[in-house]
Amino acid sequence: MSIEVRNVTKKFGTFTAVDDVSVTVPAGELVALLGPSGSGKTSLLRIIAGLETPDAGIVFFEGEDQAQRDVRVRRVGFVFQHYALFRHMTVFENVAFGLRVRPRASRPSVADIRAKVMDLLKLVQLDWLADRRPSELSGGQRQRVALARALAVEPKVLLLDEPFGSLDARIRQELRRWLRRLHDDIRLTSVFVTHDQEEALDVADRVVVMNRGRIEQIGTPQEVFEHPATPFVMTFIGQSAVFAGTVQGGKAFLGSLAAVDFPAHLHEEARPAAGYARPHELEVTRIENGGGGLWATLRHASPAGAVVKLELTDPEGGSLQVEVTREQHEALQAGVGESLYVKPRKLRIFVQEDATSDAPDTPRAPRA
């Protein structure tokens, strides 16, 4: 079942958590809402579920307005960040809950409930723990119980709030592959919230990048990584080197880089702008290779698998992260303290719209 969110706004007091957001999730897709904390992604998820009422805007399921439909009848499966398992019930009773609270007319028989719950527990590979209590389970197991419980009511959409947030790294990786496989099997329209860009890119069909209650970009993992729409997306997803400067009269003057053509801004008035490049899009040579780059001093080189990470300092003292292949690094023969020529193969230039624009003033530390 498809989900459409149209012009939804939600305020908590004076804080606008969700600001005029519109997004469509096609039936059967697995979509990630990605953003830093406070970006409104969880509020948006809760609005879709019906746990929060939007101040403005409409949520449609399969083209049907959900405003008048209470969360109880929306048929959504919701997996809470801290699982919210019923602590006084066994795993079995947790999963059976949604079936047991149905009105008598539509409630399955005791035998049917038992069969259904055991099927679901097998699906999440926990049938052997049916009689345990949540407090006796590990984090990953609790997560899977929460998922089985959400699936028991045969939801039409599945919503997951930071589903792997409170798990340790190894379990998290396992569980997110498992979730992807499960999604491929049952093809349930699913939305999950995460602040971890790696997780979003790894699992989702499409990624919705949010910042300050607004959507920055919607696209496939490849699109948001390769063609970020805004400086925020550029810095939030993956590492990047930033060259701050101005654009004026069809040229961009960025940091210590030589001026480059920028036909998008032919205006004579100078505007602040910044150029961004991924670490692997920077070329490092010992000679001034055709111009357009800058000289920087090598501070550190660390091998990381197939690549070698170089840390350099540009003439203004800024730090530059560069990734080169092992072969390139060997050919370079560069020692710490040597001057090297760094030149972006690809540069994405964003002109600052105005003083209040969403410039990446709070970029998250990029993940290694």
Binding site: L51, F86, S135
Partner: protein, 283 residues
């Protein structure tokens, strides 16, 4: 290696002795004295004192009062703590303060408030008189005063418990299709049951033992409006010490049962809250 906080044996012994002597003088001796006085003339006399019609009437009235006041305050306490812990509404702070009012006011004043409201010269006196309803110096007044004095117990016990639990389990139940009553009986109540029981035990102990407020509204009519504590006072004032202590021993016994029940509940709820060692993740 000596731990920094270990005192010399002499100091430890002295501290322990002081504590024990204090306990013996102020807690154990009075308790023993009550039972010793009660049984002074033998077990037969003890039973006779309890079987005496006025004493028996006082016991029945006390049980009746508790049987009305405790369920009322249980219902009120559940509703108030649910509302305060789970919802935001204007006047929440005021409600919290009002719940504490009976703790803050002297019981005698509480009793007098009801006399001023329902007494013959009181605000509602003429109305009640016209309809031939007697509140003050009658059983309804005793129940009202007891309800007033004991109403913070359940609510005060439950509010922090419910606040600590948060809303997530209720939200999960709602998403799964449960209605308000189903959420309350299947999710909320099982999670707070030990808190409820604890509150009820304390509420009951106070309801049966209340003296001040009840004394003001009771009128001390023997066999009609005397609760156990009031009856004890009457017997005592008549220098009938053995009978007074025999009836008082019931309250002392109630106190012991309350303490026992309280520690059982604490032990059980402590066990329920303790997380078990997690099972190892399956490969």
């Amino acid at each position: 290696m000596r731990r920094a906080l270990t005192e010399p044996p002499l100091v430890r012994g002295a501290l322990l002795a002081v504590a024990l002597v204090f306990l013996a003088i102020f807690l154990v001796m009075p308790l023993v004295a009550v039972f010793a006085q009660a049984l002074e003339k033998g077990f037969g006399a003890y039973l006779t004192a309890l079987r005496e019609p006025d004493a028996w009437a006082a016991i029945r009235l006390t049980l009746l009062t508790a049987a009305i006041a405790v369920p009322m305050n249980l219902a009120f306490g559940l509703a108030a703590s649910w509302a305060i812990a789970k919802f935001e509404f204007p006047g929440k702070g005021t409600l919290l303060t009002l719940i504490d009012l009976p703790f803050a006011v002297s019981p005698v004043i509480s009793g007098m408030i009801f006399v001023l409201l329902f007494g013959r010269q009181g605000l509602l006196g003429p109305f009640l008189g016209a309809h031939d309803v007697k509140v003050i110096f009658a059983v309804p007044g005793i129940v009202l005063a007891t309800v007033f004095v004991t109403f913070p117990f359940v609510a005060r016990e439950l509010i922090p418990v419910m606040q600590a639990l948060g809303n997530e389990e209720e939200e999960a139940a709602r998403v799964l299709g449960a209605g308000g009553w189903q959420i309350f009986f299947r999710v909320t109540l099982p999670n707070v049951k030990w808190g409820v029981l604890y509150g009820v035990i304390l509420c009951n102990a106070r309801a049966m033992g209340e003296f001040g407020a009840v004394s003001v509204v009771s009128g001390h009519i023997r066999g009609l409006t005397n609760t156990i504590p009031l009856h004890v006072e009457i017997l005592y004032n008549e220098y009938n010490f053995q009978a007074a202590f025999a009836v008082a021993s019931l309250l002392a016994f109630l106190a012991l049962v309350t303490l026992l029940a309280k520690s059982v509940v604490e032990w059980r709820s402590g066990r329920a809250a303790r997380p078990e060692a997690p099972v190892r993740e399956a490969a």
